[in-house]
């Protein structure tokens, strides 16, 4: 299985990084690390352009991050008409890893603050789709 059920609308399926989805189904949001030079990647990469190695290992993103920025999208593109309003956000986690995702619908807009604590976790979407989202840390 690849990325065909990832997010509200997916645009391509095949990728060497497709194990990400298997981990996500199992409740984990994962990044990769190059075994040769130690650099971490999110979005995960299966190839390291610095040392030209494809020997990478998966590790789970755990712990609290913080909110860098966000926007409440009131006008969704084709395929997202029924999602709006939704909140896009950028979070920063351990080791400077940054993640782009939606803020959970459980968070009220009045409670959103730049710098607030976040955790990232898988979320089931309608029609057997899956993604990850930010919840309050």
């Amino acid at each position: 299985m690849g990325f065909e059920n990832f997010g509200t609308v997916s645009f391509t399926a095949e990728a060497k990084a497709a194990d990400f989805i298997t981990y996500l189904e199992a409740g984990k949001v994962m990044a990769t690390r190059c075994r040769k030079c130690g650099v971490s990647y999110f979005p995960p990469r299966m190839d390291c352009p610095r040392c030209l190695s494809s020997d990478v290992e998966w590790f789970e993103i755990k712990g609290d991050g913080k909110l860098i920025s966000y926007t409440v999208v009131n006008y969704g593109p084709t395929g997202f008409e029924n999602d709006a309003p939704y909140i896009l956000a950028l979070g920063e986690f351990d080791g400077g890893v940054q993640i782009f995702a939606c803020l959970s619908r459980d968070i009220e807009q009045k409670d959103i603050q730049i710098g607030m604590g976040l955790v990232v976790s898988p979320v089931k979407l309608p029609d057997n789709r899956i993604a990850y989202e930010f919840k309050k840390g």
Partner: protein, 383 residues
């Protein structure tokens, strides 16, 4: 090696719906660029066609447009850096002329966005991000810039009212631009009261999708002198990139691709920000113009809002910016925009600007950004 100049510059009227085909749209810009030059299409050695794909159905538009303008059998090819495609085209044209391969090159940018609905266009632009990792969340172009706006506000205290003042200025100049989509002055209250598209950006913080074309005739210096009375010299070029992903960005309070491109262009021209008499910056959103002030060194980081508060970026201010109305008034037909910005600066340096002429302008700058800060292009021109 010979210097390289712009001999002619033209654009179509930018509008929400042009009602003509893309080849006919390109003819309008070509006509304006060529009128008054002492050459014909036979003297154009190559054409570079610039647009973002998937707005119209035509594949490989370079072949179509070079045929319609009777530029065959000369070479023609396509370049793309989304919203900065025609600035990239200009960079390639400069290289071809500088290298001695061609004497005269036409850079033709176009976009016919009205072939799509507004939601479909938003989806295409969303796929201008990373389609595996970010587009599936519903990323849009305004949403990306809105996240920059929110981060700028959090770090520097920038307000929605300050952003709106950019639109007040640009709508003032756009009102007298016969090529602009929006020719109406907007008040601060109208802008602040418009509906929120993607917070904190409101409808009037955003430029509109549009149809339009632009054409720049680039020539070897000695050739340019022979075909136009006032060649405009290309003295600085900068180009840079940043990550496709939002998650790869080092900061959301400035565009690294613009900072880097600006540095390169200033260095090549041997000048600094203080030497610029007039600038066109990529105000796809009001926040984008504030970021440009800071990224180009017109103001220090976090102090860009001071320029608009003090009206220093009006035509009679210290650093006039977008005194043709900018993308906010003209509309933003993606592939045509860079060429339109170049055209405005060419007019300014020739003393022929119709909206607001900056007195005695000799050096002008164009800042043209592709995507949500993925591609940065800065061009410096001298009379």
């Amino acid at each position: 090696m010979e210097d390289v100049a712009i001999a002619g510059a033209g654009q179509s009227v930018f509008s929400r719906k042009c009602g003509v085909s893309i080849r006919e749209l390109c003819f309008e810009a070509f006509k304006e660029a060529m009128e008054g030059l002492d050459i014909t299409g036979d003297d154009i050695d190559a054409s570079i066609i610039c647009s973002a794909p998937e707005y119209d159905k035509q594949r490989s538009p370079a072949g179509l447009i070079s045929e319609y303008l009777e530029l065959t059998p000369k070479p023609s090819f396509y370049v793309e850096t989304v919203c900065s495609s025609s600035s990239t085209g200009l960079r390639v044209a400069w290289s071809l002329v500088k290298a001695g391969l061609h004497r005269v090159v036409a850079v033709i940018g176009f976009q016919k966005m009205s072939e799509l609905t507004s939601r479909e266009a938003a989806e295409r632009m969303g796929r201008g991000g990373d389609i595996i990792w970010e587009s599936p969340f519903g990323l849009t172009m305004p949403a990306g810039y809105a996240m920059y706006a929110r981060a700028h506000m959090a770090k520097y205290g920038t307000t929605e009212e300050q952003l709106a003042k950019v639109r007040v200025k640009n709508s003032h100049y756009g009102a007298s631009n016969p090529k602009a989509t929006y020719r109406k002055e907007l008040s601060l209250d109208e802008i602040l009261g418009s509906e929120v598209v993607t917070s904190p950006l409101k409808k009037f913080d955003c430029c509109a999708n549009a149809d339009g074309s632009s054409c720049i005739i680039v020539a070897r210096g000695d050739v340019a002198k022979g075909i136009t009375d006032v060649p405009i010299w290309i003295i600085g070029l900068g180009a840079a990139t940043d990550t496709m992903t939002m998650s790869g960005r080092e900061s959301l309070t400035g565009l690294r691709c613009a900072q880097e491109a600006g540095k390169q262009a200033y260095q090549m021209a041997g000048i600094g920000a203080q030497d610029i008499d007039v600038a066109e910056v990529h105000d796809c959103f009001t926040i984008s113009e504030i970021l440009a002030y800071e990224d180009l060194g017109f103001a220090k980081p976090g102090e860009g809002v001071g320029l608009i508060e003090e009206k220093q970026t009006y035509a009679d201010g210290k650093m006039p910016v977008n005194v043709d109305g900018g993308l906010l008034s003209k509309g933003h037909p993606i592939g045509a925009t860079g060429g339109s910005q170049i055209r405005t600066i060419v007019h300014q340096l020739r003393g022929q600007a119709t909206e607001a002429q900056v007195k005695g302008a000799e050096i002008g700058l164009v800042h043209n950004i592709g995507g949500i800060g993925q591609y940065g292009n800065v061009t410096i021109l001298r009379r």
